[in-house]
């Protein structure tokens, strides 16, 4: 393993505090994620894990401290094609129908010039992303007609289509059936094998569990654990290990 100091950093968070409506949701969080790492951010509801992720991608402003992506502070970061973001769910299934293909193609906008149609290579990238999440046969269907798990797969495809170096997922498995979770895990494993950095927030990792090589546990806006993953952390209800040498977390 390369030493933490020399390896390139995908995400650097320094002394980050985030204020949501007057309440400090994150308090002095510090974090370094090297390129190629697969990190799970765990914690109970309200622990600040989604806030951390949303601040990292620039959706929330930092009250104090700083977030850097690939070495550039987020407010000045422009290379968004290197980042793939999967929100918790399709936040606004708009008032007008949109097909799976249309939604996935919006993942290419960071590298698409204004007033320019899709290039052949971009169309191919869309097809490949749809294959990866096993949704190619539904490309012409309206996203609103899909099940929750299938919609989530479309969102993953939208993030994968630009072939990002850093993949950030907010609760990718929440409310998703096991078959879709397995498809995610396979898609993400393939990316990890190619060196993609993955940061995912989760309640319950499910089939993703085996991919994780580091977990971070948040509690009331602070990091209370940062290290190798525990078997005991991968489920929503975390128990004391029975007689093992490892102490339980968040019991």
């Amino acid at each position: 393993m390369t030493s933490p100091d020399t390896a390139a950093k995908a995400v650097q968070v320094a002394d980050l505090s985030v204020d949501l409506g007057g309440r400090l949701v994150l308090r002095g969080v510090g974090l370094q994620i090297r390129q190629g790492e697969v990190v799970a951010v765990l914690g109970t509801n309200g622990s600040g894990k989604s806030t951390l992720i949303r601040t990292v991608v620039g959706l929330l402003p930092a009250a104090r401290g700083e977030v850097r992506l690939f070495g550039t502070p987020v407010p000045r970061f422009r290379q968004w094609h290197r980042v793939g973001y999967v929100p918790q769910r399709l936040t606004a299934a708009g008032g007008v129908p949109a097909t799976v293909h249309e939604v996935v193609s919006s993942g290419l906008l960071s590298e698409r010039r204004l007033f320019a149609p899709l290039r052949a290579s971009q169309k191919q990238a869309i097809d490949e992303a749809l294959e990866i999440v096993d949704m190619a046969h539904r490309r012409k269907d309206a996203v609103a007609e899909l099940s929750g798990g299938q919609q989530q797969r479309v969102l993953i495809a939208r993030a994968l289509v630009s072939d990002p170096e850093l993949l950030i997922l907010d609760e990718p498995t929440a409310g998703v059936d096991l078959a879709s979770q397995q498809i995610f895990a396979d898609a993400i494993r393939a990316r990890v094998a190619r060196g993609t950095t993955v940061v995912m927030v989760s309640h319950d990792l499910g089939p993703m569990d085996a991919l994780i090589d580091r977990s971070i546990v948040l509690r009331r806006g602070r990091i209370v654990y940062d290290g190798p993953p525990h078997a005991s952390q991968t489920h929503a209800h975390v128990h004391h290990s029975h007689g093992g040498e490892e102490p339980g977390w968040l019991s």
Binding site: L59, T91, G94, V96, P97, E102, S106, G149
Partner: protein, 334 residues
Amino acid sequence: MTLFQLEFMQRALIAGLLTGLSAPAIGTYLVQRRLSLMGDGIGHIAITGVALGLLTGSAPVLTAIIVAIAGATAIELVRARGKASGDVALALLFYGGIAGGVLLIGLAGQGAATLNTYLFGSLTTVSPTDLYVVVGLAVAVLVVAVGLGPQLFAVCQDEEFARVTGLRVQLLNLVIAVMAAVTVTVAMRTVGLLLVSALMVVPVATAQQLTRSFRSTFVVACGIGVVACLAGIVTSYNADVAPGATIVVLALAGFVVAATVGTLIRRRQGRVAPLADEEPEIGVPEPVPHVVSAGHPHAHNPKCGHAAVEHGDHVDYVHDGHLHAAHGDHWDEH
């Protein structure tokens, strides 16, 4: 046919064609963002602009567009700041717009008749200068609506994701607001300010009864808009009624037809292709174990004297106040 030889009708038809294209084009984005009534609000604000033009003696189209853009920008900024009172702030702007308009018209000494031509459209009032302005603005709106389609689609579909792809979301939102304001002004001469929003929303609602993609909704809505505008203008000339009302009534009639046809089509498709069983059933609880009637010695049959009750796909027999149903070689309590 004499109708198409009349110069004012030619101008009205050209204006109608462009209105029919541009109003649903921008309307598709507004509906997708669930801001269907934004056009209505801008229309109200534009009334003040028209009145300002009449009061100062300058071209009403020009003042309307300036005031409409200012109003649309204000709405967008209020929305983007996202405080709980955004809804109320919009209402304040709407009422302020219409009240200010009526007040200024009164000061200008113009009667209700002048205002009416702006509120509900008028065929005879499209002057050659108006036409040039309308053509220029409508073409600009269409170029932006089509050319920036992918970007605007992304912003309207999922604003947060659009921000993370590095799109300048605030700027694009402002573009949409300004385009809506320009479209309102374009449509002012044919549909009128009070009904312009209908031409932005109704064709889109009609189109999506039959479409599944954003792009086809966009194209079909523009087609419906053009047909409704041209047919409405011709009807309005023949029947001597306000064009705006005619256009909107025709568009609504189209919606009723499309909604009926769409429902029938979906029902037929639903019957032909039942839902595919795609998700494997994992974690579905086993059915509750059935209760076997203990040591039931009696075999029910239709003639045994116990009352028979139809129960879904089988028959239950009433036996001492409870129901027995045949299950293999024994009887279940139902």
